[in-house]
C-alpha cells in the first residue's frame, strides 16, 4: 500500500476518534492537534492496529516523527 492510500484510511480513523476535524497530512504531528495528547496516542495506535490489521513492535510507533513516517511504518508492517 502506498503512503497516500494509508493516509486516506488514516483519515477515516481520525474522523472516528477526534472530536474536531483533523486532516491526515504527511507533515502532521501530535503537537498540531489539541486533542492528541499522550493518552489519545494510546487509543489511536490501538484503533490503527485494528483498522489495518497490523501489529507494531515494541517502541517503533514512538520513533515516527510525523504522520508520513507513521504511514510508512503501517505500510511496512502490512507486508507479509
Amino acid at each position: 500500500m502506498q503512503q497516500a492510500e494509508v493516509l486516506a484510511k488514516l483519515q477515516e480513523v481520525f474522523d472516528g476518534i477526534f472530536l474536531e476535524k483533523v486532516a491526515a497530512t504527511p507533515e502532521l504531528s501530535a503537537a498540531d492537534v489539541d486533542e492528541w495528547d499522550s493518552l489519545m496516542q494510546i487509543s489511536l495506535v490501538i484503533a490503527v492496529e485494528q483498522k489495518f490489521r497490523v501489529r507494531f513492535r515494541v517502541g517503533e510507533v514512538e520513533a515516527a516523527r510525523n504522520l508520513g513516517e507513521f504511514a510508512d511504518l503501517i505500510a511496512k508492517r502490512m507486508k507479509p
Binding site: G16, I17, F18, L19, L39, I42, I46, A47, Q50, K51
Partner: protein
C-alpha cells in the same frame, strides 16, 4: 430497542443530524460491543452527539479509578458504558501504581475528590509467592491468605475513611507455559498462587467490598487474547485493547446494578420453548423433550436452568398461547419435565394477547411490569410485548434450544448481589400467597379472615445480620416505598450506631408460612420532630395490617425519643402511587405539597393506636 444493527456511517449521520433515534442505536451497539475500536468510536460519537443535544443535568456519580496499571483508556470506556446506562460520572484517575499510598494517606487527592465509589485494580504481577517452589503447601497457602487480606484491608481502609463503596478487582492469571505440568503441583508458582489469592479474596471479602472477577473475564476471553506484553511495556496497560472492553463492560454492569433492582419474574412461552413442537398439534407423545434426542436434551437442560433460577428466588410464570388443559397435562404427566406446576408462581395458557396476560400476572403477583423479563422463541410475540408492555424486557430465544440459556444470561437480568434466605424461599412464599387468597375467598369478612391467618410479627431494630436483606429491600422496593431513597449496605451499616436515628424492621409469619423480613423504617430525630426518611414494605403483605403495626411502632418510638410530632415524606415516582394517601389515612395533615415532594405531620399525642390481628413481639430499642 432497535431491531436491526445499523452500520457506522448510518450511526454517525444520525448523531450529527441530532436524530433522536440515535440514542437507542447507540445503547444497543455499545452494550454488545466487544472490540476496543468499536467502543471507542461509539464513545466519541456520543460526545459529538451531545454537542448537538446536551442532555439534562443529573446527579453525577463520583467515580475513582485507582490501581497498579495505567487507567487510561480504560476510564474512557467505563465512562461511555455508564453514560449509555444513564449514569453520568465525575471521575478521578489515580496516578499509575500509586493506589496504596492514595488509600493509606488520609490527605491524598483521592479523598479530597470525595468519591461515591472506587474501582481498585491491583497489579497482578506484583502478587507473587516470595519463598521457594518447594516450601510446604501450608506455608504457601498462608502467604496467599496474607496477600488477599492485604488487598481487602486496603479496600476496607478506603471504605471506612471515605464512606464510599469499593469494587476490588482480583488478579488475571499468567499464560506462561513455563514449568509445564509442575505448575499446578505447588502453590508457589504464579499460576497457582494467584488462583489461591483470588479464591481467598472472594471468600473473605466483606459485603461492602464487591469483587470484579478479572480472572474469570480473562479466562472467558482466553488468557493469550487478554494479555498484551507490548501494551504493558509501552503504556502500562492491564491487557489487550479488547480485554479492556471486557473489564469496562463488567465494571459498568456492576456499578449500574448497584442501584437498579434486578428483575424478579421470568415469564416464558411453552411450545418451542420448554419443549420442541406444539402440544396442541403434536400431543404429549409427539413433543421433543428428554434424553432420547439431542434437541430433547437441550430443552430439558433449559428446564434445568429455569429450575435453578427458581431455586435462587426468580419467579417463573407461564405466558403462552395455548389450550390450558393440554398445557397443564404436560406438566402433570410428561416424565421428562423438570419444571413442574409448583415451580410456577403464575400460569397463563390461553388465547388472549400475551401483553394482556403479562398484565394479569403482574397484578396477581403484585409486582411491577418493569421487574419482568419475557422470553419467547417467536420474534412477533417479542415485538408485540415491546409495543404494548414497553416496561417488560423481551428476550428472543431464537430457533436453537442449545442457545436459550446463553441468550437469557446475556441480558444479566437475574444476578443477585447476595443471595439471601428470602430468595431461596420466594417461590414457596408466592405459593402460600395463592393459598391465602383461596382462604380469603372462602371467608366472608375481612376481620375473620385476618384472625384465621394467625399472624405473628417481630419488630426489631436494625441488626448487622439483617443488613443484606435490608439492602436488598431498599434496592428493590418500588411500589410501597414512600421516598425510594436507595442506600448501599455501607450506608445502612453506618446507621446502626447513630443516636439520632431510629431504624427498625418487621418480619411476619402466619399459619401458611414465613414471609420473612418485609418492612423497613428509617427515622431521623430532628429536635422534637420524628422524620420518616424511609418507609417501605413488600407488596405481598399489603392489607394484612402490617402498616398499622408499623405506624404504632413509629409513634411509640417517637414518644420514647421525646418527640412531639411525626413528619412523613412522600416523594412521588412513576411506581409508588399506591402510597400517595397513606399518611392521610392515618390522620396526618399535609404541610407541604409540590409536584415532587409532599410532607405530612401528626402530633404524637393525637395518634390513636390501631389494634390488629397480628401478635407482635417487639425487640426494637429496648422495648422489652
Amino acid at each position: 430497542m432497535p431491531d436491526r444493527p445499523i452500520n457506522d456511517a448510518e450511526l454517525k449521520s444520525l448523531a450529527l443530524s441530532g436524530d433522536a433515534t440515535f440514542w437507542g442505536h447507540l445503547v444497543a451497539r455499545s452494550r454488545q460491543a466487544t472490540s476496543f475500536s468499536e467502543l471507542f468510536f461509539l464513545s466519541t460519537l456520543r460526545k459529538k452527539a451531545k454537542l448537538y443535544a446536551p442532555g439534562s443535568v443529573q446527579p453525577r456519580l463520583r467515580l475513582a479509578l485507582i490501581g497498579g496499571y495505567n487507567l487510561y483508556p480504560l476510564h474512557e470506556l467505563v465512562e461511555h458504558l455508564l453514560a449509555i446506562r444513564g449514569i453520568e460520572c465525575e471521575r478521578f484517575l489515580g496516578a499509575y501504581d500509586n493506589f496504596v499510598s492514595e488509600i493509606l494517606d488520609g490527605s491524598s487527592s483521592l479523598y479530597a475528590f470525595r468519591p461515591d465509589l472506587a474501582f481498585i485494580l491491583p497489579n497482578a504481577s506484583h502478587c507473587r509467592f516470595s519463598g521457594s517452589l518447594l516450601d510446604a503447601v501450608e506455608h504457601q497457602r498462608e502467604a496467599a491468605v496474607c496477600a488477599a487480606e492485604h488487598l481487602l484491608n486496603l479496600a476496607q481502609t478506603f471504605t471506612a475513611r471515605s464512606g464510599a463503596a469499593a469494587i476490588l478487582a482480583n488478579l488475571a492469571l499468567p499464560g506462561d507455559v513455563d514449568l509445564g505440568s509442575f505448575r499446578s503441583r505447588t502453590l508457589g508458582t504464579d499460576w497457582s498462587f494467584r488462583k489461591a489469592v483470588n479464591l481467598e479474596l472472594g471468600l473473605r471479602a466483606p459485603a461492602e467490598v464487591q469483587i470484579c472477577d478479572v480472572e474469570f473475564l480473562s479466562a472467558r476471553r482466553g488468557i493469550s487474547a487478554a494479555a498484551d506484553a507490548r501494551a504493558w511495556y509501552e503504556s502500562k496497560q492491564l491487557g489487550s485493547p479488547d480485554f479492556l472492553v471486557d473489564i469496562a463492560q463488567e465494571l459498568s454492569h456492576l456499578i449500574a446494578s448497584r442501584k437498579q433492582s434486578p428483575k424478579k419474574v421470568l415469564a416464558i412461552d411453552l411450545d418451542h420453548t420448554l419443549w420442541g413442537g406444539v402440544i396442541a398439534e403434536d400431543g404429549i407423545e409427539g413433543i421433543e423433550l428428554g434424553d432420547s434426542s439431542p434437541r430433547g436434551e437441550a430443552f430439558k437442560a433449559f428446564q434445568r436452568y429455569l429450575l435453578g433460577l427458581s431455586q435462587r428466588g426468580v419467579l417463573l410464570a407461564v405466558c403462552s398461547k395455548n389450550d390450558h388443559a393440554r398445557a397443564i397435562e404436560v406438566f402433570e404427566k410428561h416424565p421428562e419435565m423438570v419444571v413442574r406446576l409448583e415451580h410456577f408462581a403464575a400460569f397463563k395458557a390461553n388465547w388472549d394477547p400475551k401483553s394482556d396476560n403479562l398484565q394479569r400476572i403482574a397484578e396477581e403477583l403484585r409486582l411491577g411490569l418493569e421487574s419482568f423479563v419475557f422470553a419467547d422463541d417467536n420474534p412477533a410475540e417479542i415485538e408485540i410485548v415491546r409495543q404494548f408492555q414497553p416496561l417488560v424486557t423481551g428476550v428472543l430465544l431464537g430457533p436453537d434450544p442449545a442457545e436459550f440459556i446463553v441468550r437469557i444470561q446475556a441480558g444479566r437480568h437475574f444476578e443477585p448481589r447476595t443471595v439471601t434466605e428470602e430468595d431461596l424461599e420466594r417461590t414457596a412464599q408466592y405459593r402460600q400467597e395463592r393459598r391465602r387468597a383461596e382462604l380469603a375467598a372462602s371467608v366472608t369478612d375481612m376481620p375473620a379472615y385476618l384472625a384465621s391467618l394467625e399472624m405473628r410479627g417481630t419488630i426489631k431494630e436494625f441488626d448487622s445480620l439483617d443488613v443484606p436483606r435490608i439492602g436488598q429491600l431498599i434496592a428493590r422496593s418500588n411500589q410501597f416505598n414512600l421516598t425510594t431513597t436507595r442506600r448501599s449496605e455501607t450506608e445502612i451499616k453506618a446507621l446502626l450506631g447513630r443516636p439520632d436515628y431510629r431504624c427498625f424492621t418487621m418480619r411476619l409469619e402466619d399459619r401458611f408460612g414465613d414471609s420473612g423480613l418485609i418492612s423497613v423504617v428509617i427515622a431521623r430525630i430532628d429536635g422534637g420532630v420524628f422524620v420518616l426518611d424511609t418507609w417501605l414494605m413488600s407488596c405481598r403483605v399489603l392489607k394484612r395490617q402490617v402498616e398499622d403495626e408499623i405506624m404504632n411502632e413509629i409513634f411509640r418510638l417517637a414518644e420514647v425519643a421525646g418527640c412531639t410530632t411525626v413528619r412523613g415524606i412522600y416523594l412521588p415516582t412513576t411506581k409508588n402511587g399506591i402510597v400517595a394517601e397513606v399518611y392521610e389515612e392515618f390522620g396526618f395533615a399535609r404541610t407541604e405539597d409540590s409536584a415532587t415532594r409532599r410532607e405530612f405531620e401528626l402530633e404524637v399525642r393525637k395518634y390513636q393506636v390501631r389494634s390488629t390481628k397480628i401478635d407482635v413481639a417487639r425487640r426494637a430499642y429496648a422495648a422489652g
